[in-house]
């Protein structure tokens, strides 16, 4: 089951998306506040964060930057109604996994979440292997 954090200032959008994604066996947490999203991402481990680009308090790119600063391996998919090429390039440079324009096809979004989940698993495994290698080298077994 993929664990997803959905961040958007449109409350109704969050409610419907959560219901549809949960029906597809995803564990969904929602918030309308980017600051709350940063807190949640620190407390919990998510397979993917779906983030709106334009929000009050903090815009999506700023939130993305903060999320990646705290956890560089976090998979962040930007969902926006306002995708300019410039913003898209900026988002990718900041480490976004993908960028989708609203209204998005849930099938495509689900595929991207599954890909993000797989990528996260690979990264977790890679880190675990590195840790073991490090311990082995240090202990000299």
């Amino acid at each position: 089951m993929e664990k997803v954090l959905l961040v958007d200032d449109e409350k109704e959008f969050l409610e419907i998306m959560a219901e549809r994604m949960e029906a597809r066996d995803m564990n969904v947490t929602t918030t309308t506040s980017p600051k709350d999203a940063l807190k949640k991402a620190q407390e919990e481990s998510y397979d993917a964060v779906i983030l709106d680009l334009m929000m009050p308090e903090m815009d999506g790119l700023e939130t993305l930057k903060e999320l990646k600063k705290k956890n560089p391996d976090l998979q962040v998919i930007l969902l926006t109604g306002h995708a300019t090429v410039q913003k898209g390039v900026e988002a990718m440079k900041l480490g976004a996994t993908d960028l989708l324009e609203k209204p998005a096809d849930l099938k495509i979004l689900t595929e991207k979440i599954k890909k993000a989940h797989t990528k996260k698993m690979v990264l977790v495994q890679k880190k675990a292997e590195e840790k073991i290698r490090h311990i082995l080298a240090e202990k000299g077994w």
Partner: protein, 222 residues
């Protein structure tokens, strides 16, 4: 083309572009909710086909959501339409109340983005002025944009107007961060050109945290 005219055209186009970009973003948000609502109905029908019972209340929630979003889209497109028609004539009689309502409607999303609430308290009297509707809207937007940024901890900008004998005073309140030397910050050259064009003036009341925009009832009687 002379430099001042270039700057005026640039200011006008920037305002128009900013408003239409914001409106298109809002319409996209509405479309996204309607799109997901349609998807949810599809999910329900698939569940029903598999023999799972669907609570009619859930269908009503979706139907209400779509109705609300259609109402929202209607208001957004009405604002877009009024903005588009504001360039039909550059001198005509316009209702101050309607112009301020339109300016508030166009600015609301920008205020939301900065977590600021806009309050409109118009008097009950009807007042029309002869002016350039587009340039007036542009000027009101510039003042609101500044006021939102300077609203300080209160995060609430008020808007109202008072009628004088030959002019109307549009009051922007709640500008907590107005300094003692506000004229160095606002109006900038951009607003000064609009003020000149409309025959209007701007006055700061730093004690009250207010900016007053004084507009002639007829721009040719200045």
């Amino acid at each position: 083309m002379n430099r001042q005219l270039d700057a005026e055209i640039e200011t006008g186009l920037q305002f128009f572009g900013k408003m239409t970009a914001s409106i298109s973003h809002e319409i996209k948000n509405v479309m996204a909710i309607i799109n997901e609502s349609a998807g949810l109905l599809e999910d329900y029908s698939l569940m029903a086909e598999k023999g799972m019972p669907i609570d009619p209340e859930r269908l009503k929630v979706v139907s209400d959501r779509v109705t609300n979003q259609i109402r929202r889209a209607d208001s957004i497109t009405k604002n877009l339409n009024s903005l588009a028609h504001s360039v039909d004539e550059f001198r005509k009689s316009v209702g101050i109340r309607e112009t301020l309502e339109l300016a508030m409607g166009l600015t609301e999303r920008f205020a939301d983005m900065r977590s600021v609430i806009l309050d409109f308290h118009p008097p009950s009297d009807f007042l029309a002025v002869i002016t350039s509707p587009f340039h007036l809207l542009n000027l009101i937007w510039q003042v609101l944009d500044f006021a939102i940024d300077a609203s300080g901890a209160g995060k609430r900008v008020g808007l109202t107007f008072e009628t004088g004998q030959t002019s109307v005073k549009i009051r922007f309140t709640g500008i907590e961060a107005l300094t003692n030397e506000p004229s160095t910050v606002f109006p900038t050259a951009k607003e000064a050109a609009l003020l000149d064009m409309l025959g209007a003036t701007i006055h700061h009341n730093t004690k009250k945290g207010e900016i007053n925009l004084v507009l002639p009832k007829d721009d040719r009687q200045q």
